[in-house]
Amino acid sequence: MRALKALPALMRVGFVESLAYRAEMIVWVFATTMPLVMMVLWTAVAEAVPVVGGGGKAWGSTAFIAYFLCVFTVRQLISAWACWEMNYEVRQGTLAMRLLRPIHPILTYAVGNLAALPLRAGVTLPVVVLLLLTQAREHLTRDWRVWALFPFALFGGWLITFFANVAIGSLSLFMESSVKLMEVWLAAFFVFSGYLFPLDLFPDWLSAIARWLPFRYQIGLPVELMTGVHTLESALPLLLQQWAWAGALVVLALSVWSFGLRRFQAYGG
C-alpha cells in the first residue's frame, strides 16, 4: 500500500500548514464558541426554572455546564471542512494538482483535515478539560468501558462530518458552488446534533426524528457517552447505528465524487 507509506509525510505537511495558518485557527476557535454561549444561557434558565428532560432527568446548572463543555470538546475533535476546500479548488482549478498525484484526493483531504486537529485541540482543550474536571466532574461517566467506547464514537462522528463534507463538496463538480447546500446541512446540524440544546429537551416526536438523522451521531452520541447517559449495553447499538451512517456516507461521497469527476472541467490555464 503505497498510499499508506505517504501518510506520515502528508500528516506532517498538514500539521506544518496548520501552524502557518495560526491566525485562521484563532478565528475558527472563536467561531466555535457557540456552545459556551449556550452554556451561559442554559445555566441561567436552569437557575430560574426547573428544567426537566424527556426521561424525567432534572437539568441543573452544573448539568448544563458539563453538557456544553463536552459539546465544545467534541466539536473541536470531529470538525472537517473539506467541502469548502473542494469548492474553492474546483473554482480555482487547483483541484487539478491533487488529481495529478497518484494518491486518492479524498485521502489527502482527510489527512489534511485530521492533521490540523492536534493544534486546535492543543490550544482549546486543556482549559475546557480542566473546567470539566473542576466544575462538573460528577456529571461525567465513571464507567471505564464507556470511556473505552468513546474514541470510537468520536472517530465515527468525525467520519460522518468528513464524508458529509466530501459528498456535498463533490457536488461542486456538477454545480457552480455547493457552499449554500453545505450551509443548509449545517443549519440542520446545529438543531439536530445537540449542538445548541440537549436533544433530551426536545418534545418526544422531535427527538424521535433526531434519533433517525445522522447529526445526533456527530455530537450527541459522543457527548451522551461522556456525560454518563449510557451504559455499555445501551451504547453499543447506538455506536453501530453511528457507524452505519458513516458507512452510508462513505459510499454516497465516493459515488458523488466519481460521477463528478466525469463532469470536472479543470478550469484555468
Binding site: 503505497r2 507509506k5 505517504a6 506520515p8 509525510a9 502528508l10 505537511v13 506544518v16 500548514e17 502557518a20 495558518y21 482549478g93 487547483t94 487539478a96 494538482m97 488529481l99 495529478l100 498525484r101 497518484p102 494518491i103 457552480e176 469527476l261 466525469r262 470536472f264 472541467q265 479543470a266 484555468g268 490555464g269
Partner: protein, 330 residues
C-alpha cells in the same frame, strides 16, 4: 507512446446573460451552450519525441493536454498514453507523467518548496538515494540554491517556476506535458528553462509535449510541431516544413557602401524595408539566387544575409489566414 484518435472535448457552459432579470430567470430555466474546445484531432507521438503544440488563444491546446493528463474525460475519441487510458487515472499512470501549467501551481503556498519536494518523494515513493541524487542535479541545473528553503509565497515568478519544474520532476516522469512553462519569464530565464527542458529530454529519453506562445521556445525545443486551431489539427510535421508552407519565401538583407533609393531596389523584388544603406527584400526561395546575382551586379553591396522570415510573423500569418478561411466558410 502517445496515441490520440478523433479526440473531441465539448464543454457544456451555462449561458448567463447580464442583468438581474436574466439571473433570476436562469434560476428556473438554465440554458446551455456547447463549446467545442477540441473537435476531432488525431496524432501519434513516439517515445522520446519533443513536440510543440501551436495555436492561437482558445485553440484547444490546454484542453488537449488536460485530457492527456487524465484531468478531463474526452467527449469522444480515444486516447492512449504508454498503454494507459488517461481518464482512469490509475496510480501506475500518474506516476509516469506530469503536467506543468505555467498558471497553476502545485507548490504549497505557505511552506518552502523543499516541503513539496519531500511530500512528492513520499507520494511517488521515490527511494531516498534516487531522490537525493535527483534533487542535487535539479538544484545545480536550475540554480535553486537557497530558494528551496524560502516560503513559496515569497518567491518571484521566475524563481517559483524553477521550483515548480523541480517539484514536477521529483518522480522522474517519462511523459511531460508542459503548458506555457516560460510564460511571464524574462529572456534569460526562458533560456535557462529551455536548456533545462531539452537536457531532461536528452538525458532521460522522456517524451515531451510543450505549448508556448514564444516562438523561440518552440524553435529551440521542438523538431516537430502540431498546429491546432479551433479544436482541429491543421498541421503536423517539422517546423521548417511548416515555415516553408506558410511563407515559402526568404528574407534577403542587403547592406550597401552608400545610401540607395527605393527606386534602385524595387526592381529586385518585393521590398520589406529600405532605409539609408540597408534594404530588406522578400523573395521566394527559388528566386534567391537570381535576385542576389542581380543585386551584386547593379548595386554597391558590401554584405548580404539570407534567412527565413521571423517565426512570429509566420505564425500570425498562419493564424490570420485560418481565421479568414473560417469567416469565408461561415
Amino acid at each position: 507512446m502517445i496515441e490520440v484518435r478523433n479526440l473531441t472535448k465539448h464543454y457544456r457552459v451555462h449561458k448567463r446573460p447580464p442583468g438581474l432579470a436574466a439571473a433570476v430567470k436562469s434560476l428556473f430555466k438554465r440554458e446551455y451552450t456547447t463549446v467545442k474546445a477540441v473537435d476531432g484531432i488525431t496524432f501519434a507521438i513516439k517515445p522520446g519525441e519533443r513536440v510543440g503544440f501551436l495555436g492561437p488563444n482558445g485553440a484547444g491546446k490546454t484542453t488537449t493536454l488536460k485530457t492527456l493528463a487524465g484531468l478531463l474525460h474526452p467527449s469522444s475519441g480515444e486516447v492512449r498514453v504508454d498503454g494507459h487510458v488517461p481518464q482512469k487515472r490509475e496510480a501506475e499512470y500518474l506516476k509516469k507523467i506530469m503536467l506543468v501549467m505555467g498558471q497553476k501551481q502545485q507548490l504549497l503556498w505557505d511552506l518552502p518548496p523543499a516541503e513539496t519536494f519531500e511530500l512528492n518523494r513520499a507520494i511517488y515513493d521515490v527511494p531516498r538515494p534516487d531522490f537525493v541524487r535527483r534533487m542535487k542535479e535539479l538544484s545545480e541545473l536550475l540554480e535553486l540554491g537557497d530558494l528551496v528553503n524560502k516560503p513559496t509565497r515569497q518567491l518571484s515568478l521566475g524563481e517559483r517556476m524553477k521550483c515548480e519544474l523541480a517539484a514536477a520532476l521529483v518522480h522522474g516522469p517519462k511523459v511531460l506535458f508542459l503548458d506555457e512553462p516560460t510564460i511571464g519569464l524574462d529572456v534569460s530565464m526562458q533560456v535557462v528553462m529551455r536548456d533545462f527542458i531539452r537536457r531532461y529530454n536528452e538525458t532521460t529519453g522522456a517524451t515531451l509535449i510543450l505549448t508556448s506562445h514564444y516562438m523561440d521556445d518552440v524553435a529551440a525545443l521542438c523538431p516537430r510541431v502540431i498546429v491546432i486551431d479551433k479544436g482541429t489539427l491543421s498541421f503536423d510535421g517539422a517546423l521548417d516544413v511548416l515555415v516553408k508552407q506558410v511563407r515559402p519565401d526568404k528574407r534577403v538583407t542587403l547592406r550597401f557602401s552608400q545610401p540607395v533609393t527605393l527606386e534602385q531596389v524595387t526592381p529586385l523584388g518585393q521590398v520589406v524595408r529600405c532605409e539609408g544603406a540597408q534594404a530588406v527584400l522578400q523573395v521566394s526561395h527559388d528566386q534567391v539566387n537570381a535576385v542576389v546575382g542581380r543585386a551584386l551586379a547593379s548595386l554597391p553591396v558590401v554584405d548580404l544575409n539570407v534567412e527565413n522570415p521571423p517565426l512570429e510573423e509566420v505564425m500570425s500569418e498562419l493564424f490570420s489566414r485560418s481565421r479568414a478561411t473560417r469567416e469565408q466558410a461561415a
